[in-house]
């Protein structure tokens, strides 16, 4: 069972592919913080995200797809851009016929730490204990994507 976890955005996008082995252990197959070219317009940037996801899905062939739910925020302009990117990201997953799941921040905190009101630091600390990560991994968005993928694998009952 392989899942693709996404921390959505149009500027920085966390991408992670995790596999749940038969012994129940999660293994990181791939992760990155993909950054789009700020010189380009938003639609060219979103297009580059779509192409990147196509490549990753074709390479790692996940069965499932998980993304964080967007909530209301005060900055409507950011909401519009992130939602446009999110729509395209989910469309690419649909096109590849992946099973699509959405998780709230509370569900992600719960699945990684057992506590729905955990801090970002507590989530990161648990992520590094659950999954072996590369030493140079410093990008928040990448760790967030791994946390989303862990959450999704925790919701898979039958392997």
């Amino acid at each position: 069972m392989k899942t693709l976890g996404i921390d959505p955005g149009y500027d920085r996008i966390g991408i992670a592919v995790l596999e749940k082995k038969q012994n129940g252990k999660e293994v990181r197959l791939f992760s990155e913080c993909f950054m789009t070219d700020r010189v380009k317009n938003i639609h060219e940037r979103i297009f580059s995200i779509a192409e990147r996801l196509d490549t990753i899905i074709e390479k790692y062939k996940p069965n499932r797809f998980a993304i964080e739910t967007i909530f209301h925020t005060k900055n409507t302009k950011t909401v519009i851009g992130v939602s446009e990117a999110r729509g395209v990201i989910i469309y690419i997953a649909s096109k590849h016929k992946l099973s699509i799941q959405e998780y709230t921040p509370n569900q992600i905190k719960n699945a990684t730490t057992g506590y729905g009101k955990a801090t970002k630091e507590q989530v990161y600390s648990m992520v590094t204990r659950l999954v072996t990560l590369p030493k140079n991994l410093k990008q928040d968005d990448e760790i967030d994507a791994i946390a989303i993928a862990i959450t999704d694998l925790a919701h898979v009952k039958n392997l």
Copy 2:
């Protein structure tokens, strides 16, 4: 010169293909108000819009693509859904390598009526004078899409 005009949404989407003839006259090749299935979830609905646009672009082969700019509104939930749909719609246009243009409501009013503060009724009245429409056309979203396509053709300088 053919342009595809879109009034974006995830529930009702106005779609219009107009052609500018060598005599400068705009001709409606196709228009509809495409409605998605309310029983399905938003991502299935957006996927059906993408498939519909693929079919229309392949059939009418427009050179250009025009869509209305989204502005801030008080209803963030609607903004998220419409933005997700809008992102996918623009992605499909990019995939087909169409030239993408965005117009504000004021630009659309100006191009159709010559007056940036025109009412919806004034815009509709001018649209029916500029383009021959089917008699049974009653959907606002469809007329809005035709108005956007007219606006785009008005911005093409060299034919």
